[in-house]
């Protein structure tokens, strides 16, 4: 394998809560790599630490109350982002690593034209003149598929629909041709047809510009269509990591299994449970009080004594490829006979 573009090791981002209810360990020892040019999907329910992970990479965690624990390590092209000076960090943000936010309705500044906002990163990082930046903004609008870019460049965000605003956001993020794009739920706020268009756009731009994409989502359908590899997060940890095809063919962690089972399918009407959609019982526990042992055990259909007592490490699941290609944080791997259909 080539040298990874981004290497995250043992990332711990904690938030000190007010009212003394303890420390929220929102991200608690997360490690993964992003290879140049690949799409990495990061999947999990709300509250499992996906967004905090992505904000930590750009060091956009509000401090206080948040802080990244010493011992965490985020390396981008051989440089540790956690020890950079604010000035060096700003030179990377928006230039080498860009981010798209969840809410296209609120992520654009209402008082500036979209052209001004797209041009901003180019002016900040490449010191373009206003005229050159405007030309660039028009180019970007055309690239992200907005009709009449010469006219649209002078429009304000409120004159555009949600899908168009998300396209503008993508244009803003890509104006400096970053090597890594972090897309935090880029399609969650959009309706399904627009979702598909935006994902297609991201795929096309990724191929054209040769960048890596970290696609953060709670929608497995999105991941299945676009990602090369998937990291499944639960309760601030990585619980399973595998190439997309392997993950969908052979989900090993009970949480992944549950997630996959809860995706509605058109081709196989759910015979089980009297035609009702499957759900994982319970909800993600509070980040101030993760359960002891395996953090998933209170919701796991297979849990036994060992799961309650001992936290499992990431275990290699074998399968195709070199060791470490498919890893799972589950004791079942040591005792596969316990994986029985549960009553």
């Amino acid at each position: 394998m080539t040298e990874p573009l981004l290497r995250v090791r043992d990332l711990k981002t904690y938030f000190v809560t007010e009212h003394g209810s303890g420390t929220a360990r929102a991200v608690d020892g997360v490690s993964f790599d992003v290879q140049p040019g690949e799409t990495l999907g990061i999947v999990g329910e709300s509250g499992c630490g996906k967004t905090v992970t992505s904000l930590s990479i750009l060091r956009l965690i509000p401090e206080p109350p948040g802080h990244i624990r010493p011992g965490s390590f985020i390396e981008f092209e051989g440089r540790n982002l956690l020890t950079l000076e604010p000035r060096e960090l700003r030179a990377i943000r928006g230039n080498q690593i860009a981010m798209i936010f969840q809410e296209p309705m609120t992520s654009l500044n209402p008082v500036f034209t979209v052209g001004d906002q797209i041009a901003e990163a180019a002016i900040v990082h490449q010191r373009l003149s206003r005229r050159a930046a405007r030309t660039r903004a028009i180019e970007m609008l055309r690239l992200v598929g907005i009709p009449d870019p010469e006219e649209r460049v002078d429009h304000y965000p409120h004159q555009m629909s949600g899908g168009m605003r998300q396209r503008v956001m993508i244009g803003m993020a890509l104006v400096c041709h970053p090597k890594l794009l972090i897309a935090d739920e880029p399609t969650t706020a959009l309706d399904v047809t627009i979702q598909a268009q935006i994902l297609e756009l991201l795929d096309r731009l990724q191929a054209e510009l040769g960048m890596a994409v970290m696609l953060i989502t709670h929608d497995l359908g999105v991941v299945a269509g676009s990602a090369d590899r998937v990291v499944v997060m639960y309760a601030g940890q990585v619980v399973e990591q595998a190439p997309t095809a392997a993950l969908f063919a052979r989900p090993l962690h009970p949480y992944t299994e549950g997630l996959l089972a809860s995706v509605p399918r058109l081709d196989a009407p759910p015979a089980r449970e009297r035609g009702r959609l499957h759900g994982i019982p319970g909800q993600v526990p509070a980040a101030t009080a993760w359960p002891d042992g395996c953090r998933f055990h209170p919701r796991c259909p297979y849990a036994w004594d060992r799961c309650r007592a001992e936290a499992p490490p990431l275990l290699d699941a074998g399968g195709a490829g070199e060791p470490g290609t498919h890893t799972v944080r589950c004791w079942l791997l040591t005792d596969p006979r316990r994986r029985t259909p549960h009553p």
Binding site: L60, P64, G94, N95, F101, S107, M172
Partner: protein, 299 residues
Amino acid sequence: MLGAAVLALAVLAALRRRVRTTAPGRRFFRHPTAGPGLFVLAFFVTIAIAAPVVAPYPPYYQIDIAHPNRPPSAQFLLGTDPFSRDVWSRLVYGARVSLGIGAVAMLVAATVGTAVGAVAGYFRRWVDTMLMRLVDVGLAMPRIFVLLMAAALWEHIALWVLVLLIGLTGWFGTSRLVRAEVLSLREREFVAAARALGAGAGRVIFRHVLPNAAAPIIVSGALGIGHMMLLEAGLSFLGLGVPSPTPSWGNMIADGWHKMAVAWWSSTFPGLAISLVVMALNAVGDALRDALDPRKEAA
């Protein structure tokens, strides 16, 4: 005078036509006192700018020192004062001083207040705590006493020092307002997006936060000019503001008030001017608030 009134009306009509096309513009003129208030302001600004044309006499010229206190007539529109100076001419030149001091002092106050509020609200932590405690102290001090003390210490106070003093004691309220606005704006997603693009603190504050806080700043500025003018008038009336031969509406009242019984006009007209302008500013400020700030919060 008539000319000034006509010009003011023309300005008003032009503005109304211009602004009627936008929603905030319509909201502004829906306010019942917005039109008259704007007219009064336009009128006084016009005569202040055109003072040499509008005033029949130089403001210091003592016309007939043997016969002061002439009543209003065709020759002396608003009469003459106890020093036999034409009240209308002094009122016109006084508009320059009084309106000018009010506007510049407010500009100083708004600038300092906005800067302090933005820094406190954006950086939070100890910067915020320190600045806001300073503001608490400033708000707790009776302003008129601070100004009186400063004026008494200086003896002959220069006009620009007076403006600075009034401005620098008037920014506390604005800074609180701006801080509150910045506190909510800094959590907005587009601010996070701007930071993710690599914008530094200065860029984020000036391009993304403050433009979105413009409406309340403008409103509090418009309402604040009135306070500033009243303060100047009060100080000048006490003889500690604008020094005497220079006409300001405050010291014109002071010059005439002990002859109120025989020559009511020399104090009444500048007093009326102050009241009118302050009322007009409040009316316009209120209308602006309704127009620009849908939440209609108190400034």
